[in-house]
């Protein structure tokens, strides 16, 4: 299927105007021996054929929608109101680019401004950027921010072992070969935030924690923030935004930077992307934040309007002196989150959060009653929790799958010694019936 509209007559007229005989004549600057390579690709398909092909491939996936799923670990199944995709499908949004020309981009600009506002409200922070790639890269940018805020001093970064293992990997990729020293990842998993306090000293630039953490646990980080500030360090908290529908926001605990994975805010699982990076901070650090920022102003006619602002922080102005190389944001995913939060609003997001909380606690309580199963941690949790099983979690998952259940995340791969541990997630989409089926099935297959 071609999307080139040119007729033969168009081509002839255009070539004549240019003063060449054939289109091939336009490529004489390309070294001849490399010009017009024969590409070995499948023969082109029409739209109808392509859709048929793609449908066949999609059916080769056994997706979570066809089964009962308790898998989360950083990507969550939630109900997405129909209105979200109706907005995402508007060509005015999805076929526009970065709003460089504000006079004809007020739709995107105001949507970003509102996104920034809703995220500020949700996190309890003061400034949000226009979004980042995802939760992992947003945390890596928090580390970059710390370096910029401390102007190269304070090279010690504390990473809680409760941060998503993939996020920590990404931080290491970004900072590999740099001058930063990372500590804390090998702390005992049951130690909690107090163990981090002991590690903070006058060389510490940043303390990074998650809320809820990778294991679903929630802690009040107020003391940790105070301890960090007392030594001149900053606190960054990586959040799940759904939890903030119910729980005290990190802004109220004294966090300096809040990052997070925005996928639960109306973005489908889509095999891991595109997702949405949340990146927020305090007013005093606005000049160190990465990515686009939208600010309010007025136009030549006195109307309120919005523009990209403080762009002197960014790569296209500062080039090698910029603190980050990012130029895009996750525009369309930002719009999904804005639409989701606008539709759910104050009461809807609280309802989703409470529903997740109660269902997860019901599931945890029921599983803990099973012979051979127990909860690994005693701490408060949101909608994920770790169970210790009588057999290896990976093996248990295979048995669950045979009965139509996608089990939790088997922790043995990332955490040696936790072969029998599974991280289970329950959201508002899991009915009591599903939870009961999981509990029954666990009892049945664990001792089979």
């Amino acid at each position: 299927m071609t999307f080139v509209p040119h007729t033969e007559r168009d081509r002839q007229q255009m070539l004549e105007a240019i003063g060449v005989k054939t289109i091939a004549d336009l490529f004489e600057a390309v070294p001849q021996k490399f010009r017009f390579p024969k590409l070995n690709l499948p023969a082109p398909l029409t739209e109808m054929e392509a859709l048929g092909e793609l449908k066949g491939i999609a059916e080769a996936n056994e997706s979570a929608d066809d089964l009962v799923s308790f898998l989360g670990a950083g990507a969550y199944h939630h109900y997405i109101p129909a209105g979200v995709d109706s907005i995402l499908r508007r060509g005015e949004y999805y076929t526009a680019y970065t709003p460089y020309q504000p006079e004809i981009s007020q739709g995107t600009l105001q949507a970003i401004f509102e996104y920034q506002s809703l995220i500020v409200a949700l996190t309890g922070m003061e400034v949000s950027n226009a979004s980042h790639y995802d939760g992992a890269t947003a945390l890596a940018e928090a580390v970059n921010m710390s370096r910029a805020i401390h102007r190269g001093a304070r090279n010690k970064i504390i990473l809680s072992p409760g941060i998503h293992p993939q996020y920590r990997e990404v931080v290491h990729t970004y900072e590999d070969g740099g001058d930063l020293q990372f500590i804390g990842e090998d702390l005992d998993l049951s130690a909690g935030p107090d163990a981090l306090i002991d590690m903070i000293d006058e060389h510490t630039g940043l303390v990074c924690v998650a809320y809820p953490d990778f294991f679903g646990r929630v802690y009040d980080y107020t003391k940790l923030a105070e301890a960090a500030h007392a030594k001149g360090a900053l606190l960054a908290v990586s959040v799940n935004p759904t939890a903030l529908g119910l729980l005290k926001p990190p802004g109220e605990m004294g966090a300096d930077i809040v990052t997070g994975e925005g996928q639960p805010l109306g973005i489908p699982l889509s095999f891991g992307g595109p997702y949405l990076g949340i990146l927020t901070t305090r007013n005093q650090y606005v000049r160190q934040i990465a990515g686009r920022l939208v600010g309010e102003t007025v136009d030549s006619r006195g109307q309120r309007g919005f523009v990209l602002t403080l762009s002197t922080r960014e790569q296209h102005i500062k080039r090698e002196k910029a603190s980050s190389n990012i130029c895009t944001n996750q525009g369309l995913m930002m719009l999904a989150a804005t639409t989701y939060m606008s539709l759910l609003g104050k009461s809807g997001l609280r309802q989703v959060a409470e529903s997740c909380y109660h269902k997860a606690h019901y599931a945890a309580a029921e599983i803990a009653k099973l012979k051979g199963f127990s909860l690994k941690f005693k701490d408060a949790f949101f909608h994920e929790f770790v169970i210790e099983c009588p057999i290896p979690a990976a093996e248990l998952n295979l048995r669950l799958l045979e009965l139509g259940i996608v089990g939790g995340y088997a922790l043995g791969t990332e955490y040696p010694g936790m072969q029998n541990c599974m991280l289970l997630t329950v959201t508002e989409l899991n009915s009591k019936e599903e939870v009961d089926y999981l509990v029954e099935t666990l009892a049945e297959v664990a001792h089979a």
Binding site: I18, S63, A64, S128, S355
Partner: protein, 491 residues
């Protein structure tokens, strides 16, 4: 009357979504951790959707008009991509489900890797980078790891032409490299002598955009690449302008060691108002072990009846993970769909017509506008937006006046080496009629610049908004709505 802000809409007690009440016994909420107030707005479903629909109508977009934003490849984004990316099997797929359950997703990624290898002339591809800038970071980190693996860590310098995108120097600096700028010559090529003078044993990499940001194919590309390789350096290719090369030349054949693709430019995944992008990287064989992972490989070869079994592979010396999970998978499906519909002939036709359109604009606009490097261009043409006899007119005025004719302005003030630059990339999906209308508007504007300059300086006139006060925005920072902070009593 501007559209109200979200916090000025709705009323207490309204909601746009009702969720079912929990069907399980309620648990105690965690003591001391429940928030007092959730200061989100309260809108009905219609209020919220009407607001966001009305906002959308304030945007210029590809679907509503010509969008010749240079270096961004604002071509038509096929609607079918939006259907295929939303197929149930893909959109509900959890990224941590075992590979055996996700053979459809892995098949998409595997074939896209293979096709990008073929299109670019590379030995291996990773789809992990989230955007072009992250693809660049991947590339530079791989180059650094490669040199380190050969005991060549003294290589600390990256050469970047003065016409390059700002991401190139920003990425190099992020990776701990020193940046040396290479000037351009009078024909718009990089200055080969200046390049060669920097080719020594501290050279880590040369970052090349080809066609360059002047829209010109680098005439000394082979000589430049040979010089860099002879000094032990590697060549990074910025694939931003790949639309001009599809089926025309393969960067890998030219000797480029690593290149990022922009799926959102070349392969029609939508720009989304600024993202999500997707920036896969392709590499020559000697860099394959360093790719960011995991990537998709074949576990078991297929037979006539059964397709192959796909699985995850971590390259042995991988620079590591660059983002969570597997890259921007939804964009992979869209790019896959597009390439499937194009085939080899279709892709070559894309590049040919992109270049035809740009050259048509070049010859029709030269004369009325100065074309600083006047030779056959590739997919975009760069003009100067200034005249000696209209000294008060700037590129910005031309850009703003174009809006009155219903066009999105070209990229302006970039590349930095052209004074008052207007960088125009028409793309292959625009018809001759659209180009003729744009040419007519540009010629009218050139006349107005001399006869009635104030019309340009005060433009735009017909848009819903006039020029914005950017200084005020930066000086009196207002970055969010006023958010009600009072503690609510109902919770």
């Amino acid at each position: 009357m501007p559209e109200p802000l979200i916090y000025d809409l709705g009323a207490p007690g309204r909601t746009g979504v009702q969720m079912p009440a929990p069907d399980v016994p309620l648990a105690d909420l965690p003591t001391g951790l429940v928030r007092d107030n959730l200061p989100l707005p309260e809108l009905s479903e219609l209020e919220a959707l009407r607001h966001l629909t009305r906002l959308s109508q304030l945007n210029h977009s590809i679907l509503t008009g010509f969008y010749p934003l240079g270096s961004c490849t604002m071509k038509y984004n096929p609607i079918i991509n939006e259907e295929t990316a939303r197929l149930g099997g893909f959109i509900h797929a959890h990224p941590l489900q075992p590979a055996e359950m996700m053979q459809g997703s892995l098949a998409i990624m595997y074939h896209l890797q293979e096709w990008l290898k073929e299109i670019g002339g590379f030995a291996a591809v990773s789809l992990q980078p989230a955007a072009g800038a992250q693809g660049e970071l991947a590339g530079v980190l791989m180059i650094k790891a490669y040199h380190a693996s050969r005991g060549q860590s003294q290589r600390n310098k990256v050469l970047i032409p003065d016409s390059a995108h700002g991401t190139n120097p920003a990425t190099s600096a992020m990776s701990g490299y020193r940046v040396v700028e290479i000037p351009s010559d009078a024909r718009g090529n990089l200055d080969l002598e200046a390049l060669k003078a920097e080719c020594d044993d501290t050279l880590a990499a040369f970052m090349l955009t080809n066609p360059n940001t002047l829209g010109l194919f680098e005439e000394g590309v082979q000589e430049a690449i040979e010089a860099v390789h002879a000094a032990g350096g590697l060549v990074y290719g910025d694939g931003a302008n790949m639309n001009a090369l599809l089926g025309i030349a393969r960067p890998g054949d030219l000797g480029i060691d690593v290149l990022h693709y922009n799926l959102h430019k070349t392969f029609t995944t939508p720009h989304g108002g600024g993202g999500p992008g997707s920036g896969p990287v392709g590499v020559a064989a000697h860099l394959a072990d360093f790719l960011p992972g995991p990537i998709v490989g074949i576990e078991e070869e297929g037979s006539e009846e059964m397709g192959p079994v796909y699985g995850w592979h971590q390259p042995p010396k991988s620079i590591g993970r660059l983002k969570g999970f597997h890259g921007q998978f939804g964009m992979h499906v869209r790019a896959f769909t597009y390439i499937l519909m194009q085939g080899a002939e279709g892709l070559r036709s894309v590049a040919e017509h992109a270049v035809l359109n740009a050259n048509y604009l070049r010859v029709k606009l030269q004369g009325a506008y100065k074309v600083p490097y006047d030779r056959v261009c590739m997919h975009e043409v760069v003009l100067e937006g200034r005249w000696a006899d209209a000294p008060d007119i700037h590129a910005l005025d031309i850009a703003k006046r174009l809006m009155d004719f219903g066009f999105h302005p070209p990229t302006n003030y970039f590349p930095l080496i052209v004074r008052e630059a207007l960088m125009i990339e028409p793309t292959e999906t625009e018809s001759k009629e659209v180009l003729d209308a744009f040419i007519e508007a540009m010629l009218t504007i050139a006349e107005e610049a001399h006869s009635t300059p104030e019309v340009l300086q005060q433009a735009p006139h017909t848009t819903k908004y006039g020029r914005m006060d950017e200084v005020k925005a930066a000086r009196q920072l207002v970055l969010c709505c006023e958010i009600p902070r009072e503690v609510s009593s109902e919770q």
